[in-house]
Amino acid sequence: MKTADTEHRTPGGTDRRRPVLEIKGLNKAFGSNKVLNDFNLTMYHGEIVVVMGRSGSGKSVMVKCLVGLMKPDSGEISILGRDMINISSGELDELRADIGFLFQGSALYDSMTVRQNLEFPLRHRKERKELTENMEEVVTTALDQVGLAHTLDLMPEELSGGMKRRVALARALILKPELMIYDEPTSGLDPITSKEIIQLMKHIQQTHNTSSMVITHDVDCARVIADRIVLLINGRNYAQGSYEDLAASEDEEIKAFFKT
Amino acid sequence: MKSKATKIRLGVLVVVTTLILLVAAYLIGSRQNLFEETFKLKAAFSNVNGLQQGNNVRFSGINVGVVSQIGMINDSMVMVRMRLEKEIQPFIKSNAIATIGSDGLVGNMIVNIVPQAGEASAVKDGEEISSFSPIATDDLLKTLNVTNENAALLTADLLKVTRSLLSGQGTLGTLLKDTVMAGDLKQSIANLKTATERTNRSLQRFEGWMNELDNREGLLYKLTADPETAKEADSILSNLAAGGQKLNGVLDDLDTLVNSLGKEGGTLHYLNSDTTMTKRLERIMINVEGGTRSFEENMEALRHHWLFRKYFRKMEKEAENNGG
């Protein structure tokens, strides 16, 4: 299965017909609050999909369902052809190695150095021998590509917000995932740093030949990076299309997002 | 783990605490004799007075081991098994006696192993030594008490007799206060014994005469008809009186003895520690009593005999005069 995938991923090329992520009829409620209500989404290989929505519209819940941090009440999720809902914990761990996740607040382990942070995902990854055997090299290259090679032995508390985000990005990429999920990658950052991060994301998309899902409510970010924008309103896939399509829409709900 | 240094410090902590625990366990264990070389000893008691497993065993006052097991062996005996230090084994002889006592006021029970006089071989592993039960002591004390009560009763009787025989109080008084007499006690008792025996003998003889006299056919009957023989009979009677007097003296001695018995730290102690002496004394007292009683009976018989009625009236008059 995995080898078949690797064959598909010719360097630099994309296969726009191969779905990497399929979500069908996803439901999730907290008490009487229906956060996700029949949410559907299909993502193809090499695509950058930006999911936009208001705070509390269920974006974070949706991505947490994607990586198995939350169990949806009902619905189907298939990532890289594998069923995410009925999966054993061992298989889930394997699948997670193919998903890079950049958390909202960077989520660096603050009791560990940058190096240990980057090494952490490589623990218990015996199936990725080529990575775990050259850990030192893998860590430095990962850090190098986000431009922070000098921070190797610093503690997270010694880094600025933007640096933390970049270290977190390096950590998310360390297992060379096929699918990257960015949860609010620019939240809490100043506009200039935000732009740097967005450029970095674009660069990574090209060099690593991944597919990306970006959760944000930052319209600028969406405009720069998105191949496709999905509007998540009332727990539903309200509308989707390119930035230009959606920005030109007459729908009141959509307009609310794009008026600047 | 960040560095070697922290690992080492953790290691030190673990090793130190483990050592402390081990040392504590050893020190406590050594008291319970778990690690030293030991040998076993047992003793049967009828009552162990709350002795428990783990109580100390002492030999000449040293803690030498612990009680390892307590169990019934039949409906009345309790077997106490002890575990003692090996090095003490040669010093405990097989005639040693185990007793149960309490350690101080607050009273953990302990087993005391008391060495006894006399030659004996050292105890063997697992040997049973004789015991001295606390209850047995009680029994002994009870018996002794009964004996003492008997002795007291006897003494009271004796005193009554003595009083009736005594004419005056002077000597008695001085004797009562004379503690030096206690030292000569043995001698006095020996005297008493011989005197009693002698009295008994003479009384027997006298009895024989009296019997002869009674059947009016014997020698005495003939003699009374004769004035010369009557004179002889008179002398016999005076002999008898002298004998009575002698008995009186002996009884005085006895009285002193009895009184010194009542005094603390004096002869009582001496006598109590010497059981044969006590027994002998008892026997003597019984002899004296018996002797005195038969003497009295004889006297009574004599008093009612026609031949001596007059003589006794005269004696009574004299006694009245003296007593007055």
Binding site: D93, F101, F103, A107, Y109 | I20, L27, R31, Q32
Partner: protein, 258 residues
């Protein structure tokens, strides 16, 4: 009113059930591979060595004060020579374990609650899970195991220093030699003093680790949640220590009566 009382009972039973499930999960995961040995050692160091100065000082002072306070009373009865036995039994059986456990509840349980709570709030736990490391194993199992293993050690050291503190008072006030003091100390002690006392310290350590990690792991979002996690960890751990102590004493009594 009635509603709130009912709610409180519900909350209490809910909490108890969740804590029990958490404990069961610990036992399920603790003996399953992979074992996070390095993290365990790091936590042992954190719990053991880092708490040591506090425990040592407290133990020492407790021994000192206990002796100073009881001395006049014992003197009145002319029983000062009983001091070593009295102090040793009270420290080893009860005061040492409970005081050290309470100190660790304050230091360790609150630390665990705050640490794991803030990791939960900043999604570090999620990040761990996503990167293929079981956070329960890595964070919870190691920490509970560390407190369970290290608390007995701390108690032993605390007891030792407590007895040493007592010895210093006896030595300066009553001319008791080191040998005599500790001879009497070990004379008074028996295995039935040490064994149950040591066993229950394992339970204390387990309770401290369990409550601390539970409070952190189930921490609510936000910085207030972290504070509450740290606070409830201390309160519940301390309470649990007394409950366990009570049960341990009752069970020990039962056991030695049989």
């Amino acid at each position: 009113m009635i509603y709130s009382i009912q709610k409180r009972f519900e909350d209490f039973f809910l909490f108890t059930a969740e804590l029990s499930l958490f404990a069961m999960r610990y036992f399920r995961e603790a003996f399953r591979r992979p074992f996070e040995i390095n993290e365990l050692l790091r936590q042992c160091y954190n719990v053991g060595n880092r708490s040591l100065p506090l425990v040592a000082l407290t133990g020492f002072i407790i021994g000192l004060v206990l002796t100073l306070q009881t001395r006049p009373t014992l003197q009145e009865f002319g029983a000062v020579s009983w001091m070593p036995s009295m102090v040793s039994i009270s420290i080893v059986r009860e005061i040492g374990p409970v005081i050290v456990a309470l100190i660790c509840a304050g230091r360790v349980a609150s630390g665990l609650g705050a640490e794991i709570g803030s990791m939960r709030v900043t999604e570090q736990i999620d990040a761990m899970e996503v990167s293929g490391t079981n956070p329960f194993k890595y964070l919870v199992v190691t920490r509970i195991t560390a407190t369970t293993l290290m608390l007995p050690m701390l108690v032993i050291l605390g007891d030792t220093l407590g007895l040493y503190g007592s010895y210093i008072v006896e030595n300066t006030k009553g001319d008791v030699s080191f040998m005599l003091f500790f001879n009497q100390v070990f004379d008074a002690l028996e295995y039935q003093d040490i064994v149950p006392a040591t066993l229950k310290t394992f339970l204390f350590g387990f309770a401290i680790g369990l409550v601390g990690t539970f409070a952190g792991y189930t921490c609510k979002k936000g910085t207030a949640g972290v504070g509450r996690a740290a606070n409830s960890a201390v309160v519940i751990a301390s309470l649990l220590i007394f409950i366990i102590d009570f049960m341990a004493v009752v069970i020990t009594d039962l056991f030695y009566e049989l």
